[in-house]
């Protein structure tokens, strides 16, 4: 579904992605984890062509999105829904208008049909009765859910999530995880999630890729990921109190 082939990107002298290659299969939830500044969001931006690789190629299906332009690029992007880190809601539009925006701008649906579709998507993300609220009046979790409803409103095949749980409390984070999982089950979408939240990655990922210093260190299933022998992966797991047996009890760890 999505294929990156030796994608390399420089920001000035600094190599932020170094020959990154992986393939995401249809219907899977592929999670990219890593330390801050490792290149996770940069990788995601290459998939949707907000960045262009200096070397290497990015395919969506058989189409080379890394070289697409104009109408071809727009057609490829129509296959995606993107949940940005801060949700990227337009501040002067209320919740309903934000979710309805792609429908109004890109379809010829009637007002009644748009209303029905928006209501359906907001209900899918467990948000009802906040149609008139402005983005500034919403909590972080609600904003993310509105962003997700907007990402879903055109019924995309692929959804990209950029740090969906960052800045949220653990309970809201798990609710967002459940939503992402539900989207996969109910809508059979392919998802790529960028996060540094390992709990989230282990809960929702069908495969997890660890990116470190612009390179892919490991790609494995969640069960194998926590058993990784790679020192950096182990360090990343331990930093979040996750061991091969599960989650450490912090108190026990402190007394040992």
């Amino acid at each position: 579904m999505i294929r990156l082939e030796r994608v390399t990107k420089y920001f000035g002298e600094h190599k932020v992605l170094d020959a990154v290659s992986f393939a995401v299969e249809r219907g899977e939830t592929f999670v990219i984890v890593g330390f801050s500044g490792a290149g996770k969001s940069v990788t995601l931006k290459h998939i949707i062509r907000l960045l262009t690789p200096d070397l290497g190629k990015v395919y969506v299906g058989d189409a080379l999105i890394s070289a697409a332009r104009g109408a071809d690029l727009a057609r490829l992007r129509d296959r995606f829904g993107v949940l940005f880190q801060g949700a990227a809601l337009l501040q002067w539009l209320n919740v309903f208008d934000n979710v309805a925006l792609p429908l109004r701008e890109k379809t010829t649906l009637s007002d009644a049909e748009i209303e029905k579709r928006v209501a359906e998507k907001l209900s899918q993300v467990n948000l009802e009765g906040v149609y008139d609220a402005m983005p500034a009046e919403l909590s972080g979790g609600m904003r993310k859910r509105v962003g997700l409803a907007r990402a879903l409103v055109m019924n995309p095949e692929i959804i990209l999530y950029d740090e969906p749980t960052s800045g949220l409390d653990p309970v809201t984070s798990r609710a967002i995880d459940q939503l992402i999982d539900r989207m996969k089950v109910e809508l059979n979408v392919t998802s790529v999630v960028v996060t540094h939240d390992l709990f989230s990655a282990l809960a929702i990922g069908t495969r997890i890729a660890m990116i470190y210093d612009g390179r892919i260190l490991e790609i494995s299933r969640p069960g194998d990921f926590i058993r990784s022998q790679n020192e950096i992966v182990k360090q990343f797991l331990e930093a979040q109190y996750i061991t091969q047996r599960g989650v450490w009890e912090r108190a026990n760890h402190a007394t040992q």
Binding site: T52, G86, Q91, K106
Partner: protein
């Protein structure tokens, strides 16, 4: 694509390199701004479409109605100052009756469009740069691009349309208010009666003065929008970047208004 990749340039080796870079980067930025203008002009065909109508009306309101107060005050006092300064000098020759023509012609040819454009650059233009700049750093512009909603059609076109319509209208309004201000000063301080003032003003001012001034205003409106929107889209580095974009939009707009104002005057009055 409006969303630009981050730019990391190595430090220039010497003064010549630095100067060369400044020239090249400014040429490139001007080119990008002109491309935005071109796309916005092409998008004007959607101005009456159902999806754009509301936004265009809102921008007309923001540009026109919201600027009315400050333009009224500035225009009135500009006319009054013009009348007082020229009237006091003309009085030495017993020619104070000619302040009507002096105020009318100055307002129509130069002061009206110039002053209106400066006010719009400082109020509406800076707001455009700040608004689009904030949208850029909070990834709202990127979100529009990935939804295949062209940011130029969606955001720049309504602003451009509003400025193209409102700058000449506000300029005409400012000119008329300036003339009224001049008349008040003429009547109260220079002893020029209202009929004499109006007769003098309308006798000497030509139609050319009016349409040159309105043409200037039209061009200034387009320039301020293009510069401000480009600066907004080119914003990087968060809140600091938004501040920088806003400041640059005002400074570049002011300079462009001065230079282009002079060029248009040369073209029409050589």
């Amino acid at each position: 694509m409006i969303t630009q990749e981050p730019e990391f340039l190595p430090p220039a080796l010497n003064l010549r390199g630095r100067l060369g870079r400044v020239v090249l980067l400014n040429c490139r930025n001007a080119g990008r701004a002109l491309l935005i203008l071109w796309e916005a002009l092409l998008s004007l065909r959607f101005i009456f479409s159902k999806r754009s109508r509301g936004t265009v009306l809102h921008q007309l309101y923001v540009t026109g109605i919201k600027s009315l107060g400050v333009i009224s005050v500035v225009a009135m006092f500009t006319g009054m100052i013009l009348a007082l300064q020229t009237g006091l000098e003309l009085r030495k020759f017993g020619q104070e009756v000619n302040i009507g023509a002096a105020v009318m012609i100055s307002m129509l040819r130069e002061m009206g469009p110039f002053m209106t454009a400066l006010i719009l650059a400082a109020s509406v233009g800076s707001a455009m740069a700040a608004e689009l700049g904030t949208m850029t750093v909070s990834e709202e512009i990127a979100a529009l691009e990935v939804m295949s909603i062209p940011p130029v059609r969606f955001l720049v076109m309504p602003r451009l349309a509003a400025m193209m319509v409102m700058t000449p209208i506000l300029t005409f309004y400012a000119c008329m208010l300036g003339v009224v201000g001049g008349a008040v000063v003429g009547l109260t301080q220079l002893g020029v009666s209202m009929p004499a003032y109006i007769d003098n003003a309308t006798r000497w001012a030509a139609n050319k003065d009016l349409y040159t001034g309105l043409f200037k205003a039209f061009v200034f409106g387009i320039m301020v929008t293009t510069i401000s929107c480009y600066q907004g889209f080119a914003t990087s580095e968060g809140a600091v970047g938004v501040g920088r974009a806003t400041r640059r939009s005002v400074i570049i707009s002011y300079l462009a208004i001065l230079v282009v104002g002079y060029i248009i005057t040369r073209l029409f009055y050589e």
